[in-house]
């Protein structure tokens, strides 16, 4: 397991983990609070998804060590994300692009 995971490193990591834990809790509170503020429907959605993405980044990046992962893993995940976005975006766009749009 070597890299970055020696005992000293781990001890440093633990501090980071606790920091992230607190950030996640704050993020949760923020998400709920933001939902009660009426910013307009679209803005509410955007904000909620933004906070969720930040939290997801913290979990994936640090708890799952993705910030220091190997190239193989990155390649796999990047492809996956591209395909996921393709699936979602194209399906939804196809829903809006129908015959007689100018009709």
């Amino acid at each position: 397991m070597g890299d970055g995971h020696s005992k000293e490193d781990i001890k440093k990591h633990i501090k980071l983990y606790i920091g992230i834990f607190i950030a996640l809790l704050i993020g949760t509170v923020l998400t709920v609070a933001a939902a009660y503020v009426d910013l307009g429907h679209k803005a509410n959605i955007a904000l909620a998804l933004f906070i969720a993405s930040v939290k997801a980044f913290l979990v994936a990046g640090f708890f799952m060590h993705l910030t220091t992962e190997k190239k193989t893993i990155y390649t796999i995940l990047v492809c996956t994300v591209i395909f996921f976005i393709g699936l979602m975006a194209l399906t939804i766009m196809a829903h809006y692009d129908v015959p007689g749009a100018g009709h």
């Binding site: 129908v98 015959p99 007689g100 749009a101 100018g102 009709h103």
Partner: protein, 261 residues
């Protein structure tokens, strides 16, 4: 028109043609098949020749490297270019015409076609040129299409018998297509049209029939055990005959009042 292709169309077993844009469809199919034909004949001859020339009997010692030239790359580029040409020059603009360039409703025969297991309902707007109001909340066993019986615009709507639609020749047709139950597909080969009828969705399509005659509607989407029998007729008439037919049906409709199935 396309004399040089008449033979190819026969060779490809294409059925009669009775619509304006159908010419483009046929020509386009032929262009693609020409590309395919060239590739097939070229590669196939090469293939047979190599099998003959390089059989172990004739050529006991193989050459590790074989072909050194990269001529085939040019061939691949050519194939790609032809595909781009077909795509940009024909397929995309022609498709745009089919799905977007709708004729004016006032100058067309407008029909609402609703598929159901296993028949085709049709509805014409009648004299006023306006269909009755439809509301999804009104849908019930006796009013499957959800037309508002109170709406005056719907009173003169004409509903011919199932599976039988008529239109005048040389006048654009707009069909608004939907389905009651499962997905069907309205396919009329002589017009080179095909469109899925999807419950919950109303998809418009248009074409210009340019030949009188009686044509068959095929259901092109598996829709249950009698899918194979979901046949209908689409008849293109001269304007006079059409008017006569329409008058008959309109009279029948007002006799039965409301125009409901």
């Amino acid at each position: 028109m396309t004399e040089p292709f008449a033979f190819l169309k026969k060779l490809l077993f294409m059925p009669v043609l009775a619509s304006e844009h159908g010419k483009d469809v046929d020509n386009f199919i032929i262009y693609v098949h020409l590309l395919m034909g060239v590739l097939f004949v070229g590669w196939f001859s090469y293939f047979l020749y190599s099998l003959f020339r390089f059989s172990a009997k004739r050529n006991p010692k193989a050459d590790h490297f074989g072909v050194k030239s990269h001529a085939s790359s040019y061939l691949e580029v050519v194939v790609a270019l032809v595909e781009v040409a077909l795509l940009v020059g024909f397929a995309i603009p022609l498709w745009a015409k089919v799905v977007d360039d709708f004729p004016k409703e006032s100058e067309s025969t407008v029909i609402r076609v609703t598929a159901q297991q296993f028949a085709w309902n049709s509805r014409y707007p009648g004299k006023d040129g306006v269909f009755g109001k439809r509301d999804i909340k009104l849908v019930s066993g006796s009013n499957t299409l959800g037309y508002d019986p109170a709406d005056p615009a719907g009173k003169d709507d004409v509903v011919p018998p199932l599976n039988d639609m008529n239109v005048p020749v040389n006048k654009p047709v707009i069909i608004q297509l939907t389905s009651l139950d499962v997905i069907h597909s309205l396919s009329i080969h002589p017009f080179r049209i095909c469109q899925d009828a999807i419950p919950g969705q109303h998809v418009p399509l248009h074409f210009l029939p340019n030949k009188e005659g009686r044509f068959m509607i095929t259901c092109a989407q598996l829709c249950g055990n009698a899918h194979y029998g979901m046949r209908g007729f689409f008849t293109v008439l001269s304007q006079e005959k059409y008017d006569k037919w329409m008058a008959e049906k309109a009279a029948a409709a007002s006799a039965s009042a409301g125009g409901f199935e």
